[in-house]
């Protein structure tokens, strides 16, 4: 029944997830820091400038709430505060209450747990004292990049990307298919005599990259229909995640990265998110 499977494949390929636009409402923002009181206002001010997109389109200004060293003593207390405040966004930076930011090898306990437990997205800014941020970082969000290894159907990721992109700005919807994993499968296929390796490699790669490309086309159409004036660009490729994203951030002078961190199947951070969050320290990350 080879033909049966062929036609089922054709119809499955034609069945494409259509992007569903939904405006993300950000009414309350918590700023969580371990800075002295005098520096908290400065940090918040930078954030307000950077996230001007959240207050300039409808005239509504979000409520900014500072949570400094006096507000909580432990991770548990911080989580309770975040939950009780009913915030739509938490802004912070890595390695709260430790000096570990000097050595860039972790997010720190607070951010690590926050990204997994908090009911709202976490914006992780470059550490205010580390001095690693790019020149264009923390200025505005006219160049935002949503990153994933499975873009197709991820409406939430795109909707946050759209919400954080300034009008007339550029939203890069990127999907990098892991090259090492792909090559491993092809290596296995190459050992199966009944499958033509070259044909399989070309066909699988084409389909892998076609699906996110089609989804981005759908995003572009729907956003245009909604009258949202941002330039949506697709970056769909095969490569090494970290290497490619580092390159893309520099190449496109990206101001904000949007990525998924929660994984439904596990307590730990999404496989792709953690290494990216640790390594990409030069620009803010919006971790959903």
């Amino acid at each position: 029944m080879a033909k049966l499977d062929q036609f089922e494949s054709v119809f499955r390929a034609a069945d494409k997830p259509v992007y569903g636009y939904e405006r993300v409402e950000i009414a309350k923002i918590l700023v969580v820091t371990d800075l002295p009181a005098a520096e908290v206002a400065e940090f918040r001010s930078r954030l307000q400038g950077f996230l001007s997109v959240l207050s300039d389109d409808t005239g509504a200004v979000p409520l900014w709430v500072d949570l400094g060293v006096d507000a909580f003593q432990s991770i548990e207390e911080l989580l309770e505060l975040v939950a009780s405040e009913g915030a739509d966004l938490v802004c912070t930076y890595r390695n709260l209450f430790t000096k570990a930011w000097v050595q860039p090898h972790s997010l720190g306990d607070y951010v690590d747990v926050l990204t997994q437990i908090a009911p709202c997205p976490i914006l992780v800014a470059p550490h205010p004292k580390a001095g690693r941020e790019f020149d264009h970082a923390m200025k505005n969000t006219d160049r935002v990049m949503a990153i994933t290894d499975h873009l197709t159907g991820d409406d939430q990721l795109v909707n946050y990307g759209v919400r954080f992109t300034l009008p007339d700005g550029t939203l890069f919807l990127s999907h990098v298919e892991d090259e090492a994993q792909f090559e491993r499968y092809i290596a296995t296929i190459s050992k199966i005599p009944s499958i033509d390796t070259d044909d399989a490699k070309a066909a699988i790669l084409e389909q892998l990259l076609k699906e996110p490309s089609d989804y981005v086309s759908s995003c572009r159409d729907i956003l245009a229909a909604q009258g949202i004036s941002i330039d949506t660009r697709a970056i769909v490729m095969l490569g090494h995640h970290l290497r490619e994203y580092k390159r893309l951030i520099v190449e496109h002078e990206v101001d904000l990265l949007v990525l998924n961190t929660k994984d439904e199947d596990q307590l730990a951070m999404h496989g792709l998110a953690y290494p990216l969050a640790v390594e990409l320290r030069e620009i803010p990350l919006l971790m959903l």
Binding site: L4, E8, F11, R12, A13, A14, K16, V18, D214
Partner: protein, 493 residues
Amino acid sequence: MVAIGTLQEATSAGTLQEAASAVPLQEALSAVPLQEATSAVPLAVTLLFFGLLVLLITFLALEERLHAKKSVIAGVFAIGCLLLGEILEILPPGTVIVGGETIHLPVYIPGIDWNVLAIIMGSSLFVDIISKSGLFTWIAIVLTKKSRGDPVPLLVYYGVMTVVFSAVLNNVTAMIIVGSLTVVSLKRLGRDDLLLGFLLIEGFLTNVGGLLTLISSVPNIIVGSAADISFLTFFVKSGPYVLVAMIASLWLGGRLFGIERLTTDEERETARNLVDGFDENDSIESSWAFWLGAVMLVLFVVAIATASVTPYVRELGMGYVAMGFGIIMLVRYKSVADKFYQAIDWDLLGFFAGLFVVLNVMEHAAVLQLAGSGLARIVALGETVGSALTLVAAALASSVTDNIPIAAVLAKMLSSHPEIGGDPTSPFWWAVIFGANLGGNLTPIGSASTLVAVTIIHKHDLTISFGGFVKKALPFAALQIVLAVVYMLAFLR
């Protein structure tokens, strides 16, 4: 080709001695009447070969249990029958005069109806190439979106599509296209509960659609060729029945499987959004190829329809038209033509070749004459009772074994009947056509397309036993067969 055809006629008529002396076939044909030639075969030999024919049909019915392809079963019987026929000296030596030159031609070469093989091979090649253009999937997805995901319009569109695709393509391909789309779209709509009903109705409709044109199913080709029914005549006579049977089957299916319209605006909105996700252009490689496919398909239908009246083509036959279109389309994919050769159903072609050889030997063994005497009794009952009985008998026989040998054997018998043989308007031809096609709906092994439907059902973890299938199929088959009998007696006499 003409000479080969006359050899076949000659051998069919039993001109054994004449062929042995290598005389021109036209002379040979006119020299010996059928009765005289076959009467020389001892009854014991005839009964032996009759037993082999029954055994072949039984083996074909048990194809799935034997885990053997049809071509292998028919092939084994073909070589066995040929050897036995040669040993018992009932086969003519294969010497023939072509253009004044005497050539040796083994008896199994002219025994095969190459025109039928060419039609099947050419059509399947042509359809396979056309399907690569995305034309059929485009039509299927456009209709899915047009239904807005509402089950009742979806059933109607898929039903009409099944009938039309069965008529233009072949039953199996139609079932594969519509069945696979049904699976994907119903799963997309979250209506897996309707899958069994949809697939069964579509399976039953393939055999109704297979009645629409002369090339829609193999029994049509075999019986139509034997009766000399033209494409247009066939379409005009069978079309109204197909329309009525399709509407009745859809109505019955909707009631029996509880397929109802969506009731709330919210349900309708959700369903519409879900089917809107289908992209009808996804499988279209290029618009040029798409339009070429569409134009060529129309031309193909027109060429087949007019083949019997088009000068020059008339002499070459429908097989030439089918092969011609297949080869023309191959030019589009000339560098990868071999991939399309792989897609040809060689098992079906091998089966036909074997079957034709077996039937040819059966003719020489006077088996068909013997069986024809039984048919003569039915014919003697008159056009009303006789043709109705033939239709029902053909349907019952086709429900338990392949309808192709049934159609082929009955067509051979009717051809040699003095009153029916030369009369293409006889209702007995239609009785065989309707019976052979519709009988397939009675059991899951009755036709290749219902078998495909059952395969899809099992593939998607739905269970239906042989008895369960018969129970669900019986109302449809009964309705269609009763309608066919009434229609035949009212309009085809």
